[in-house]
């Protein structure tokens, strides 16, 4: 009981204190915090378009959050979601642009999504292989792989695939576009929210089932908690390292599909905009729990888009500070919580 309440209370407390600190920062910046928060609310949940935008961002964040959370359960710190996103997005863009325009929509989307997930998986498993075969710390290797992904997509874009005099590839075929929620239901006023939004909670649920309800997850969590005991228990720890990274990478690939197939429709330099790193914060705030990640992603989705909506009144940088402070507070609070429980 005591533990459960602490688990709930700590993220709440950290969010509350983050809000308090951000109020203070806004005051120091010489703006009216109440007006800012009001504008923020109107721009996000206060309007259909804003809600759609928040949902769109939340979707990507759920998926990249999961891509960090699953390896986290095996005590692997996947910093590489950003690189996995870029590779996934690029693969989806390439596939989507090369498909014959007559292809039926379902197969076109499926092929592009599989390409995105495959690229994300490969990129993540690379770090897993380096860890299992050569003992390279996954933090270092995923950071390096981020740089490589950045460089590789950048090079391919600039020198080979960019539409002349632009910084993006040619768009995917129409059949490969994931329809927006607006185009089918009429809700969310032309916002980029698309059908991936409905998919992402299912993925979170699937991850939860895998982790906490399956034999596979039983072994995987044991590997994360006590790797040596897992060996004694006849569990192949290396295999779990690879699959956790691989499945995580696939989730990041799905996140890329949401952005590329659901919104941009072509690959553009810098289109992922560091959302892979925000995914780390999402996973941390949720304690790497797949179901809590949905809430935590919503919070960061609100913050991300909310920052944009009040751009005219206060610099977006302030909201970067708020995000970062929230992460720091979460980490400090959970350390504090552990000390209290002892």
């Amino acid at each position: 009981m005591h533990r459960k309440t602490a688990q709930l209370l700590i993220p709440l407390l950290s969010i509350m204190s983050a809000l308090a600190v951000s109020t203070l920062i806004i005051l120091i910046a010489g703006r009216d915090p109440i007006m800012i928060f009001e504008k923020m609310f109107q721009g996000t949940l206060g309007s259909a378009y804003g809600t759609g935008q928040v949902l769109f961002r939340t979707t990507t964040l759920i998926l990249v959050g999961l891509s960090v959370a699953l390896p986290f359960q095996v005590k692997l710190f996947n910093i590489g979601a950003e690189g996995q996103l870029q590779m996934g997005a690029f693969a989806a863009a390439m596939t989507g642009a090369m498909l014959p325009p007559t292809l039926p929509s379902l197969s076109a989307i499926s092929l592009c999504v599989v390409a995105a997930m495959g690229a994300g998986t490969c990129w993540a498993i690379l770090a897993g292989v380096l860890k299992v075969r050569f003992g390279v710390n996954e933090v270092i290797s995923t950071i390096m792989l981020n740089f490589i992904a950045q460089g590789l997509t950048g090079y391919l874009l600039t020198y080979h695939f960019a539409v002349p005099s632009t910084v993006h590839t040619s768009p995917v075929i129409d059949a490969a576009i994931i329809p927006s929620l607006y185009s089918v239901t009429g809700f969310f006023a032309k916002s980029p929210a698309n059908f991936s939004t409905l998919l992402s909670p299912c993925v979170a649920l699937l991850f939860w089932v895998i982790l906490f309800k399956s034999r596979f997850g039983f072994e995987m969590r044991a590997t994360g908690l006590q790797p040596e005991a897992a060996r004694y228990g006849g569990i192949n720890a290396g295999m779990h390292t690879l699959t956790a990274m691989g499945i995580g990478g696939a989730a990041a690939g799905l996140g890329a599909a949401n952005i590329l197939l659901g919104y941009k429709h072509y690959y553009e330099a810098g289109m992922t905009g560091g959302i892979g790193f925000t995914g780390i914060a999402v996973a941390l705030l949720a304690g790497a729990h797949p179901l809590w990640i949905m809430l935590s992603a919503l919070f960061f989705g609100l913050l991300e888009y909310g920052g944009l909506t009040v751009n005219a009144y206060i610099p977006k940088d302030i909201f970067m500070i708020i995000e970062a402070i929230t992460i720091l507070l979460v980490i400090s609070f959970s350390a504090l919580g552990k000390r209290i429980q002892q």
Binding site: V209, K213, S214, R215, F216, F218, E219, R221, A222, L225, Q226, E228, A229, R231, Y232, G233, G234, I235
Partner: protein
């Protein structure tokens, strides 16, 4: 002689749990005062209060007649109290002398360290108390016994007059234990007060002057060592009379199950840990391996259970019922009917954050009978959990949600044994230190279950550093020294020599050192 430590009405509560309740105790100056009790009886909490690591919820501590209120160990150290922890607090890459003066360097921040003077004072203490240690030696090259001497020298260097020893013999060989006791007696004779925490009753009776027994956070009695007996102490500790010796009916060994021939084990940096090790274990017998830790027991376990560290070379043969174990994975070895309870329970046998029933399942989760769909059959699991809890007298309230870490060591070990002894088609059971750190009461249950398994015709390989346990359970005893079985006692010899246990222990002791 005055009173060194006086505790009056000490209570310490953690939430609703009272680790110590209303403890009053006087520890005389210049005596060896032992605190005995089962795990969780509150010994550690009490010593932590004396050492300033914890503050009492109620009550008063006075040192040498003066009431004190320690807020940190630093206060206790200043008041002349020192503690030798069970796990030594030394820095391996510094020399003995550097470790001894660490934190009390007798020099300002930017002054030269007075190494020469310090070494001289160490030598003097060493001579006086029989604590021979080379002050120049790196701590990482010292034996466990020597490391302990460094810890004691540290206290002498700080002029501690009250010394607390937490389970000091847990890591020592029989001869090192003798040596330590001699040192303790010398310290006492020079006027130091020794507080000794242990659960080994033989040792307490051998070295202590006064004994206080603790149970469930209270002191159940304090008496002179000379006027008490082991069964009396055991009863006070557990709260009921305890069989100190399990009834061990004559075994009826069958065919050879485990056959190890000329096993050689070489680590990655070329150290030979097993030398031509040869032994056989038959069905329905317990083969006890007696030996001081670090003589190849861990390596033997690794070799038998497919857990070789990278770079190890293994030569020789080990087979179960004619089928070789070498080169197989743990999961394959399990399927051959081999079951293992590892030496280090917390690290290797359980997942502390998993529930009680999750731990009863862990390692056996590949058995089909527990499966349903992609997960586990909770009905089967619950039935099995309840069965094991009843059979092994495991004390827990909600096995399906309670994390294993909330259980006592004895109950954790019962869970491991329950799980391993009940594997289907088991023919060989390897038990390493099955009762380490476990209460007398729980040891009784565990020993009975081991005998029961033997009677069912399971071959059992028992590795233990507790000679008492080896003698009480084994059919045959192999003495392990430097990676080989150097001597083997036949079943007849074991039966015969059991009658004079003390002599038998001495004889085994000669073979293992």
């Amino acid at each position: 002689m005055g009173v060194a430590v006086r505790l009056s009405g000490i209570s310490k509560r953690f939430g609703n749990f009272a680790a110590n309740s209303n403890i009053s105790l006087s520890i005389e100056e210049g005596t060896i005062h032992a605190l005995v009790g089962e795990n969780g009886a509150g010994k550690s909490t009490l010593t932590k209060i004396i050492y300033g690591m914890l503050q009492p919820s109620e009550g008063e501590v006075s040192i040498q007649g003066k009431p004190v209120n320690f807020t940190s160990p630093r206060d206790a150290i200043n008041a002349g109290i020192g503690m030798v922890h069970q796990h030594f607090m030394l820095i391996p890459s510094l020399s003995a002398a550097e470790n001894i003066m660490l934190g009390d360097e007798h020099a300002g921040m930017f002054q030269r360290l007075p190494l020469k003077e310090i070494k001289a004072s160490i030598q003097q203490h060493a001579l006086e108390f029989g604590l021979a240690v080379d002050p120049e030696a790196m701590v990482e090259n010292l034996s466990v016994g020597e490391e302990q001497r460094v810890e004691i020298l540290k206290l002498l260097f700080r002029n501690a007059s009250i010394m607390i020893f937490d389970e000091p013999t847990a890591v020592l060989t029989p001869s090192e234990t003798e040596h330590l006791f001699a040192t303790l007696r010398t310290l006492r004779d020079k006027g130091k007060t020794i507080i000794l925490i242990t659960h080994k009753l033989d040792e307490v009776l051998a070295v202590a002057d006064t004994i206080s027994v603790m149970r469930k956070g209270e002191i159940t009695g304090t008496m002179q060592a000379a006027s008490t007996t082991k069964p009396e102490l055991a009863q006070m500790m557990v709260g009921r009379s305890v069989l100190l010796r399990v009834t061990n009916p004559p075994p009826s060994p069958g065919e050879t199950v485990l056959d190890i021939k000329n096993l050689d084990f070489c680590t990655a940096n070329g150290e030979r840990k097993l030398h031509n090790l040869t032994l056989k274990v038959k069905a329905g017998e317990i083969y006890g391996i007696a030996g001081v830790e670090g003589n190849g027991q861990s390596e033997l376990l690794q070799a038998l259970y497919g857990l070789l560290p990278a770079g190890t070379s293994l030569v020789g043969e080990a087979s179960v019922k004619g089928e070789s174990l070498i080169g197989k994975k743990p999961s394959e070895i399990t399927l051959m009917g081999v079951s293992l309870t590892p030496e280090n329970r917390l690290k290797h046998a359980v997942i502390l954050n998993y529930t009680v029933s999750g731990n009863l399942l862990f390692g056996r989760h590949r058995e089909r009978s527990f499966h349903r769909g992609i997960g586990f059959n909770s009905d089967v699991l619950n039935r099995y959990t309840n069965q094991m809890i009843a059979d092994y007298d495991i004390k827990c309230s909600t096995p399906a949600t309670q994390p294993l870490s909330s259980l006592s060591g004895g109950n954790q070990q019962k869970i491991v044994l329950a799980r391993e002894l009940n594997r289907p088609n088991i023919s060989l059971l390897i038990l390493a230190q099955p009762t380490r750190g476990i209460d007398i009461g729980a040891i009784e249950t565990i020993h009975n279950k081991i005998i029961e398994a033997r009677n069912k015709g399971i071959a059992i390989l028992l590795i233990s550093s507790e000679l008492e346990e080896i003698i009480a359970l084994s059919t045959r005893i192999g003495c392990m020294y430097k990676g080989a079985i150097v001597y083997e006692f036949t079943p007849e010899e074991v039966v015969l020599k059991k009658n004079s246990e003390h002599e038998f222990k001495k004889e085994i002791g000669i073979h293992i050192t």
